[in-house]
């Protein structure tokens, strides 16, 4: 690994050339992920009114749990930024603690979503029922699976931070995770607006 460092006003994650390129690569990954979500959003919007004999968005959504999920995810985005903030202050304990808070919030988000999906399916509203439900479960489920992957990532990252402390590599990994988590938050903002709010409007 390249160890050429330039001591400048650059943030610590960007001190190393190679690590900077890796962060850049992560932005490229986020771009491809955005294309995935863009496609699913397009499918959802096109199929939204095709409810067949199934429920309409208005009948299906209960906004209470969804608003709770949104506030949980926004809070987890905030605690994730505090983790990076602590890391930049060279407080490894703070970074790990905020990361653990973030993943706990992420877990409660996923649990709420699973509960919502289970209720729908038990009421007979599976994704076989209508084009709207297919689009809905695929879009929201893809986001939920991304959050689930993020939780696994955060657990491994927290262990690594505990074992290795704040090195060039672990700083970059934390930064990339923060980018991923905030990206998922942005996707959820649009999910909340396009799927849920527009659905009950």
């Amino acid at each position: 690994m390249s160890t050429t460092t330039t001591t400048t006003t650059l943030p610590p994650e960007f001190q190393d050339n190679l690590e900077s390129i890796r962060i850049m690569g992560f932005w490229v990954f986020l771009t491809t992920d955005l294309v995935l979500f863009g496609s699913l959003f397009a499918v959802y919007v096109v199929f939204r009114s095709r409810v067949g004999l199934g429920p309409t968005p208005h009948q299906l959504f209960s906004m209470g749990p969804v608003l709770t999920e949104t506030l949980i995810l926004l809070t987890s985005s905030f605690t994730c930024s505090l983790s990076l903030y602590s890391a930049r202050k060279n407080r490894v304990k703070g970074a790990i603690s905020w990361l653990v808070v973030t993943l706990a919030l992420g877990m409660s988000f996923v649990l709420l979503e699973i509960r919502e999906f289970t209720t729908d399916v038990l009421n007979g509203h599976t994704w076989h029922q209508s084009a709207f439900l297919s689009g809905f479960f695929t879009l929201v489920g893809t986001h939920g699976s991304h959050v689930t992957v993020g939780i696994g990532w955060a657990i491994m990252l927290a262990i690594q931070l505990g074992m290795k402390g704040l090195t060039l590599t672990t700083r970059r990994k934390l930064y990339a995770f923060a980018l991923y988590w905030h990206f998922l938050d942005i996707v959820w903002i649009f999910l909340f607006t396009v799927v849920y709010l527009s659905g009950i409007a």
């Binding site: 400048t8 850049m24 490229v28 096109v46 906004m63 926004l74 923060a178 607006t193 409007a201």
Partner: protein, 125 residues
Amino acid sequence: MDHEDRQPHRIPTGHGDEVELAIFSPKMHQTHFPSLQITGYLLSIILTLLAFGMVAYHWMPMASLIPVILILAFIQAGLQLGIFMHLREGRGTTWQIPVLALAVSIGLGIVGFSIWIMMFKSGVS
């Protein structure tokens, strides 16, 4: 290479990529207290509750409601990018901005043109 006489806002990457848009010039936000993060958090909560309130309590007619909550979503996405994703940091905006512009244009293109093409025959509601 010696970069002693460089202006402080220039980041010496040494590869000639120091050209920056002045408003996006990279800087590291590090304060004693995470005030920027807290501001961003409060703003995102306010924007979310505002959009929710608009829909739940019918504050405006349907025709203007959807565009308005979409605009609120874009503002919130901008906040996330600017504050939490540290868009202005790093080795300069020449690194992230083109990728991000590509991502946004592809994303909006897919969604926008899908809606547009489907409006001709069957209609998108």
